[in-house]
Symmetry: C2
DNA sequence: ACCTGAACACCGTTCAAGT
DNA sequence: ACCTGAACACCGTTCAAGT
C-alpha cells in the first residue's frame, strides 16, 4: 500500500512477525512475507539469507526486545520482571515463541537478559559458583512455563497466573533470602 | 524392501518416527513417509487423516510409550522415574519432542502418566487440593528441561545431568517430606 | 475397503538478467 | 548494490478411478 523506497531487514522481520501473529507460523512463507511488503520473494534473500535465517532473525528480535529491569531495583523485583516479560512475549507471539525453546540462544539479546539475571542472583546471595546453574534452571522453568501457556496447556489465564504465583513462592523459598518469590 | 500386505496406522507412525530421528522433522513429508513404506502418498490419508493427524499420532505414540512406574515403589522413586523417562524420550527423539510442548496433551497416554504422578504426590503428602497444581508445575519444569536438552541449550550431557540432579534436590525440599528429590 | 494416477495450487531456492 | 522473471524440484491434498 505504501510506496517504500528501500527494503530493510527490520522491515522484513516486522512483516514476518505481524504475519505470524495474525495467521500462524505455517502462514509464514517467503512468498507471503514478500507479498506483504509488495516485493518479489527473491528480494528477501539478500537480507535474511534464507528461510532459516528469517526465523532466526525473528527469535533474535524477540530476545532483543525483551526489557531489562532497572539495576537499582531490589533483586527479587528484577527477577519477577524478567518472568513477567517473558510470559508477556509468549502471550503476544504464541506461535513464534515455540521457536525460542527449539533454538540455541547464543544471540546478543539472550546474553543481555542472562547477565541481568546473573547479577540479580548475585545480589540475592547465590554463591558465584552456583549462579550459572541457578540461572539455567530458573530460565528453563520460565521458558517452559511460558511455552506451555502459549501452547494452551493451562485451562485458562487465571489458572496460569495462580500457578506462576505459586511457583514464584516455591523458588523464593529456595533462594538464599528464604522469603517470598523470585 | 519387505512385501507387506496391509498398511496400518502403526506402520505409518513407525516409519514416521524413524524418518524424523534419522533426518529431522523437516524431512517428514507425506511423500517421504509413503516412499519409505513402498506406497503412494495418497494411501496414508485413509489412516492418519492428513499431515496434522500424522504429527498428532506421533505425539500420542510417544506419550503412550512412556513407562508407568510400579505403584509399589516409594513415591520419590516413582517421580524420579517419570523424570528420567521423559528425558530419555527427549534424547531419543529430539526433533519430535518439540511437538510435545506445542500440543495440548489431552490424549489417553498423557492421562496415564498424569494419574501416576498424582498418586505419587498424594502418597508424598501433598494436600489433595494442591495435587493438580503441583503436577502441572513439576511436569512443566521437566518437559521444559527435556525440550531444552533436546534443543541443545545445555553445554553438554554431563551439565544437563548435574543440573537435573540439582533441580531434583530443590524440588525434594519443597515437597512435604522435606528430604531429597522428587 | 483400500490403494493408485493424474492433477492443482502452493512451496523454497537458483540463476541470469535488468537497473 | 539491489531487485526481478523465469524456472526447478518439491510440497499437501483432491478427485475420479481401479480392484
Amino acid at each position: 500500500m505504501a510506496a517504500r523506497r528501500k527494503l530493510t531487514r527490520a522491515d522484513i522481520l516486522d512483516a514476518t512477525l505481524d504475519l505470524a501473529d495474525e495467521s500462524g507460523l505455517a502462514a509464514v512463507t517467503m512468498r507471503a512475507v514478500a507479498e506483504r511488503l509488495g516485493v518479489t520473494p527473491m528480494a528477501l534473500y539478500r537480507h535474511v539469507g534464507d528461510k532459516q535465517g528469517l526465523l532466526d532473525g525473528l527469535v533474535e528480535r524477540l530476545l532483543a526486545d525483551q526489557p531489562v529491569p532497572d539495576p537499582e531495583l531490589p533483586w527479587r523485583d528484577r527477577l519477577r520482571q524478567h518472568g513477567a516479560a517473558i510470559r508477556a512475549t509468549a502471550r503476544r507471539h504464541p506461535d513464534v515463541f515455540g521457536l525460542l525453546l527449539a533454538r540455541r540462544a547464543a544471540t546478543p539479546g539472550a546474553r543481555r537478559t542472562r547477565d541481568s539475571v546473573y547479577q540479580a542472583l548475585r545480589d540475592g546471595g547465590v554463591p558465584e559458583a552456583d549462579v550459572p546453574r541457578v540461572e539455567r534452571l530458573l530460565s528453563t522453568f520460565v521458558l517452559g512455563f511460558a511455552a506451555s501457556e502459549a501452547g494452551g496447556r493451562f485451562p485458562d489465564g487465571a489458572v496460569a497466573d495462580a500457578d506462576f504465583a505459586y511457583a514464584e513462592q516455591w523458588f523464593g523459598q529456595l533462594l538464599p533470602g528464604g522469603g517470598p518469590p523470585p
